[in-house]
Amino acid sequence: MCDSIFCVLSRFVFAEDEDLEWEPPSEAEMKVLQARRERQDKISKLMGDYLLKGYKMLGECCERCETILLQDRQKKNYCVACQELDSDVDKDNPALNAQAALSQVRERQLATQAPLQVNGAPSSSPSLSAPGLPRPEHCEGAASAMRGPPLVQSSPPTSVSGASASHVAASLNSSQPTQSPSVGACQTRHPAVCAEEALLQKLRWATQELQQCTSVEGSIQLCGLIRSCADSLRSLKELQLL
């Protein structure tokens, strides 16, 4: 806000007397200013948090974004903009985040099913209207199950430890979710089995990503995903035993 006021004031003051052709910033410019301001505020807040935790503010800047570098007690340099803010942006990249992918698929399906809805009755439920498919809130892997090729049914793991996850990862194919949904394959089998396979595939993918992940925020998110998959698998197991 202060940035934009000063843009206005300084143009007014520094303008020559003859040069009175000044226009207020457009909405697009205002949005860019607002976004820039918010990003800077986030960077400042993060830097303040880390300084209070004992991080050292160095006299060097990051080569990529020119943000001042911090150093932790283990003498490791840290750029809050590159390693935290930009990984937040990666959260919206469907190639890197299952939740983002699920959101994209959901949006696509809602868009295709919108003409079929009853007039005046907007679909308030975020769930998919296609029958037999699990609700997104139950498991993240549903999207990859719909997109991925038909998987060979394997025995579900009896525990949710890391060892079993890696065993599952070793026994399944490549974990990257493909973009071609194969909804028909899942519909011929029990939904719980489909869900279980999808979860196992997602677990394997998350484990591989975790091994390669270098950012703290990304690692925390991947661990959260693994935990959610494990909880979902346990619920499915209980469902199958009923």
Binding site: D3, S4, F14, I43, S44, M47, G59, T67, I68
Partner: protein, 571 residues
């Protein structure tokens, strides 16, 4: 040798990082900040200076900024958080102005240099005049010569305004009451200028910090607490004479520095011992004749001296710190005796009259408590400040010390005030300010100063024809609002700030009296301190913006250079 260009962007990044820290604890509704020191120890505090001083800052701009801030706090006693908020807003405005002109790269630095020149000259060219002509008429006097009760009430409100930003809201009123009561117990005069100079200067000796008790157990004691226990205690209830000494009572033979005492037999040793004992007995007897019942010594006395003192009914306190001893002498109007061996010279100018001398238990320690008679209209008192944990006790102590410094600053007479510990370099000349505020001028808290100055600076910018003056007035005016904006953000969001500001401007336009502008109690703040803060921020911002390049050197490189210079001088 590494060279780095510095522009407004870098300065702003540093300032905004520090701003993000102080925003958490600013104002009466701000919280405590938990921070980790360099040693790994975790502390909790609302004191801006303490939090910022504990950060590990290796960036030269951050260290320079912190140096300016500490120099200001040492002089003014308050304003660490407001300093950072004002400075960040000023740098933000400067950067926006440089970018809006479309001058990036080297031209951007030229614009920053230009702004730097404006800010450095702003105080003399604009601020002093606006303060004198427009702000001063809206203030009230802290001390009323007609009504001492009114003076006490205003001092208490000033202390309330100070403490509500430094300690927990639950304790601010109680501590403000103690602080104002403490000043007025020293003297019957409403504006005891000597007291208001003495108390902040000697505050370390005038208070005792006690950990393990709740804050509301803090209280005032008449007299002075000497932070040592009795080596020999002979109770007495009557007023008594005391002597302050800085030499041992037990003297040896007067001889040359490189002389040697040779004792060849046990008989000689016994004779020597008897001679020493007789000397001590004679000395103690001569002190007893002067009716000295309390001996305050800055050095350790021998067992023989303590034995003789006990025999003579004389209490002895040894290893008293030099500062406490000098304060005792100042309050009693005597000088310490330091003439080794010449005890016949102890006279009236060394012997002090005290009203009582007794042990006092404060926390886990036992100290010596002495009382003084009223002298030159002053009756000395001291403070006992309690806190449940060491961090909160230290916060309370620091707040009191700064409160008295603020009170001193508010009431000192018009003229130049020089900082005692001004650092060189960027902090040079930082704390010199010719205040245009009359002594004792106060305003209501909550942004009155900022709103008033913002209003009159904008008015001045419209009336002025010089474009540089217009720009600098508007830059400073907009930066000023950052302080009340952050204050009210914690209270009730942005809406409350706009509402308060609108009400204030409306009162100003209708020329109503500027009363309380918040919904809370009518606390006060010092105009002199606010002016000092703004002047310090302008100087700091001006100096930082004038920095163009950072050149990194090493201490080793400098030492080699100085060695080479010495060798060149010798040849």
């Amino acid at each position: 040798m590494q060279v780095q260009r510095v522009g407004p962007r870098t300065l702003l990044q540093v300032a905004e990082a520090l701003e993000a820290i102080v925003c958490r604890c600013v104002g009466p509704h701000g919280g405590q900040v938990i921070f980790t020191k360099d040693t790994g120890e975790v502390s909790i505090s609302r004191d801006g200076r303490r939090v910022l001083a504990s950060l590990v800052l290796d960036h030269p701009v951050a260290r320079a900024l912190l140096g300016c801030l500490l120099a200001h706090c040492n002089t003014a006693g308050d304003g660490a958080k407001s300093f950072v908020l004002l400075l960040a807003a000023l740098l933000r405005g400067t950067r926006a102005a440089c970018r809006a002109q479309g001058k990036a790269g080297p031209h951007g630095r030229l614009a920053a240099q230009q702004v730097s020149r404006w800010l450095l000259s702003f105080q003399e060219e604009v601020l002093d005049g606006v303060m004198r002509d427009h702000i001063a008429p809206h203030t009230t006097a802290l001390f009323s010569h007609t009504s001492p009760a009114e003076s006490r009430a205003r001092v208490r409100r000033l202390m309330e305004g100070f403490f509500c930003g430094r300690v927990n809201a639950a304790h601010s009123k109680f501590l403000a009451e103690i602080a104002s009561d403490f000043c007025f117990r020293w003297t019957c005069k409403p504006d005891g200028a000597d007291v208001l100079r003495l108390v902040p200067d000697r505050f370390p000796e005038l208070h005792t910090a006690v950990t393990g008790l709740p804050i509301d157990r803090s209280h005032i004691l008449q007299g002075l607490v000497i932070h040592r226990d009795f080596a020999v205690h002979c109770p007495t209830d009557r007023p008594l004479n005391a002597l302050a000494i800085s030499v041992p009572l037990q003297t040896s033979l007067p001889m040359e520095a490189d002389g040697t005492l040779i004792i060849t037999s046990s008989l000689q040793l016994c004779s020597f011992g008897s001679w020493v004992a007789d000397n001590i007995e004679r000395t103690v007897t001569s002190l007893k004749e002067l009716q000295v019942k309390l001996l305050l010594s800055s050095v350790k006395q021998s067992d023989l001296v303590l034995y003789q003192a006990k025999r003579a009914g004389m209490s002895v306190v040894e290893c008293v710190s030099q500062e406490e001893l000098s304060l005792f002498c100042l309050l009693a109007g005597v000088s310490p005796f330091a003439d080794l061996g010449f005890w016949e010279g102890v006279g009236g100018k060394h012997v002090a009259a005290v009203t009582f001398c007794q042990p006092v238990v404060l926390g886990a320690h036992r100290y010596v408590h002495v009382g003084f008679p009223e002298r030159q209209g002053y009756l000395p008192h001291c403070l006992v400040l309690c806190g449940p944990v060491p961090g909160l006790t230290a916060q309370c102590v620091s707040a009191f010390g700064d409160a008295f410094r603020t009170l001193q600053r508010t009431s000192e007479s018009q003229g130049r005030a020089f900082g005692r510990d001004a650092e060189e370099g960027l902090t040079d000349n930082l704390v010199r300010s010719e205040t245009s505020a009359r002594p004792g001028a106060v305003l209501p808290v909550g942004g009155a100063f900022e709103f008033l100055l913002h209003h009159y600076l904008w008015k001045h910018s419209f009336e002025s024809s010089c474009p540089e003056t217009k720009m600098s007035c508007r830059l400073v005016a907009e930066a000023l609002l950052n302080v009340p904006r952050q204050l009210y953000l914690r209270h009730n969001g942005h809406g409350h700030f706009l509402k308060v500001r609108t009400n204030f401007i409306s009162c100003l336009r209708h020329q109503e009296v500027v009363g309380s502008i918040t919904d809370g109690p009518e606390a006060l703040e010092s105009l002199a301190c606010k002016y000092q803060l703004l002047a310090s921020v302008l100087q700091c911002a001006g100096r930082l913006l004038s920095v163009d390049t950072l050149i990194y050197t090493t201490a080793l490189g400098l030492r080699d250079k100085s060695n080479r210079d010495d060798e060149d001088d010798e040849t």
